[in-house]
């Protein structure tokens, strides 16, 4: 699992509430990524980081923000959750020539 821990693993939240997902890595990787997985869409990049406090938008960044104040933690925040953000969220790191994914967080917005 390349030392990646996502938390929580499951969450149910109400529409309009803020939600923060955490990705923690133990191997000092510089590059980290947040993807969402939806049926029929594969995985789509939300945001990524190439260092502490260095982040950029991905393909589907609207409604999401990220922060990286420490190398080991990359946080994904839904400022005001909507039903369209119900999904499985994956964190990934870059190690040498490969991308490794965490176990995922299943988020349900009701």
């Amino acid at each position: 699992d390349a030392g990646i821990t996502q938390s929580p693993r499951h969450k149910v939240t109400e529409t309009g509430t803020p939600v923060t997902l955490r990705c923690h890595q133990t191997e000092n990787h510089r590059y980290m990524y947040w993807y969402r997985q939806d049926p029929g869409h594969g995985l789509r990049l939300i945001h990524y980081s190439y260092g502490v406090k260095d982040t950029d938008k991905g393909e589907v960044s609207d409604g999401y923000s990220v922060s990286r104040s420490k190398t080991e933690d990359f946080l994904l925040t839904l400022e005001s959750a909507t039903s369209s953000q119900t999904s499985v969220y994956f964190c990934a790191i870059r190690s040498l020539a490969e991308a490794f994914f965490g176990q995922g967080t299943r988020l349900t917005v009701v």
Partner: protein
């Protein structure tokens, strides 16, 4: 919009058969083409990857065939086993710089291998 189109959506094969999954991409700047395998409740795991300077790469029972002129690549699973039953994703991206890890994924193929 950069896209990677994957087919078929689902595939059923018998044990010992060959599973073939196809992908097509649009962006000629892509230079890294990985395949991921995902089991239920797990994150995607890298299976095999290819760069466009070769037309084929084989690792065990898994082979990637790459056609640069057609902008297509495919995964072949030889002697398919029930344990290969999973969802497979193709992806495309760039192997260097800050773009690495920014992968564009196909829609996924659910493979079922019957005993």
């Amino acid at each position: 919009q950069q896209q990677v189109k994957q087919s078929p959506q689902s595939l059923i094969v018998q044990k010992g058969g060959i599973s073939i999954i196809n992908c097509a991409y649009e962006n000629t700047a892509f230079d890294y083409f990985p395949w991921y395998q995902q089991f239920p409740g797990k994150g995607p795991a890298l299976l095999i990857a290819i760069r466009p300077d070769v037309s084929e790469k084989k690792e065990g029972r898994f082979t990637i065939s790459f056609n640069k002129s057609a902008k297509q690549f495919s995964l072949h699973i030889m002697d398919s086993q029930p344990g290969d039953s999973a969802t497979y994703f193709c992806a495309a991206g760039n192997a260097g710089g800050t773009s690495y890890g920014k992968l564009t994924f196909g829609q996924g193929t659910i493979l079922t291998v019957h005993p």
